[in-house]
Symmetry: C3
């Protein structure tokens, strides 16, 4: 890649930090796909006929353990994808590297907590609700900052 | 952030405009999460047992008012996320600032209309279908322009 | 757009290549929306009352041909959106243009195969599973490379 481009963007600490947490959250979301497959196999609940036929299993779309992982995965799509986009936009509002890094870090931790208490070791509320809320507020803060900066 | 980087990207009017509408659409999608929570509480329809237990409510996954908001949210994920990506790609095809701004603005308005007539004040078709179609055509236009530019 | 910005980013072969495949995958995902509409009309299975009323059809949420397309579309959202994000991050790890182009190309082909064998001409497993797996491994490779580069 062009040397000057690397200097301008990839050496910017906020951008580097964003790319780092993006990679972690990508791996976290990929884990949801593996967890779904695991639950489908363990609970013998396949969603399409050709899958059930190939693995000599049953077609079922209402298994709660499978659906729980799928809800967690969907919640990730609703929240983490939004973070990817608005986190990128937020970089251009010129935040301090320390503050931006803190927001990205806390968001990442809350989403990992969300997954653990929802799909790995099910914990009573309000743990999951609070993990979601903190991530939601961080997303909202970055959106408002971006809006005010570019309006 | 590096002064020169700011000059190159953040002062580009098309990119600034993209970031502005990205922030608005992010807030719009966050609103869907709040609307889902509101419908779950008002209709006493919680999706996971630990939620129902915490809020002393019922588990239900078929409440139409909840499902309607969730369908609207999913439709946003199908359409707005795609806009975020292809809108960013489209910037690099060097569109005129006026035209790009118009496309971004109209897309944003149609998605807000879509949400209003689908989940806030339910309106008969084809209003929602047309709002969706306009946004869909804008996305398609930007995708084809990007494809032709970089092929 | 600023001449120097174009020089730095849009002339970078890996970035151009990324934008090209992004446009193709965007059009591929838009095709899923059209396929859903087609299946809803052909199977007379509309999801909202106002749609059924407008098109003089029935409300149904369990038609397998419609649900199959929706599952394919959701699988795209789980996998292609993640590719868009991590593919962008991966560009900054300074990959060779040949190798990056190959990864982007193979990912795009596997996702098109996935759609074809899942929703257009239904094929027995493990074709779909393998197409999904190759794309999944490419996403994982790019995530790990990005993680190692920016940690």
């Amino acid at each position: 890649m062009d040397v000057q481009l690397k200097t301008f963007l990839a050496d910017n600490p906020v951008f580097r930090c964003y790319l780092f947490y993006t990679a972690i959250l990508t791996l976290k979301m990929m884990f949801m796909s593996l967890l779904t497959i695991r639950q489908r196999v363990m609970n013998n609940s396949f969603v399409s006929e050709e899958d059930a036929m190939y693995l000599k299993g049953m077609v079922s779309r209402t298994n709660e353990q499978v659906e729980r992982v799928r809800r967690g995965h969907r919640n990730d799509m609703e929240n983490i994808y939004l973070f990817f986009i608005i986190g990128f936009a937020y970089i251009w509002t010129d935040p301090s590297p320390f503050w931006a890094n803190l927001l990205f870090l806390v968001f990442t931790v809350t989403r990992i907590v969300h997954t653990c208490v929802y799909t790995v070791v099910i914990m009573p509320q309000p743990i999951r609700g609070r993990a979601w809320l903190i991530g939601f507020l961080i997303t909202g803060y970055m959106a408002v900052r971006t809006l005010l900066h570019f309006c």
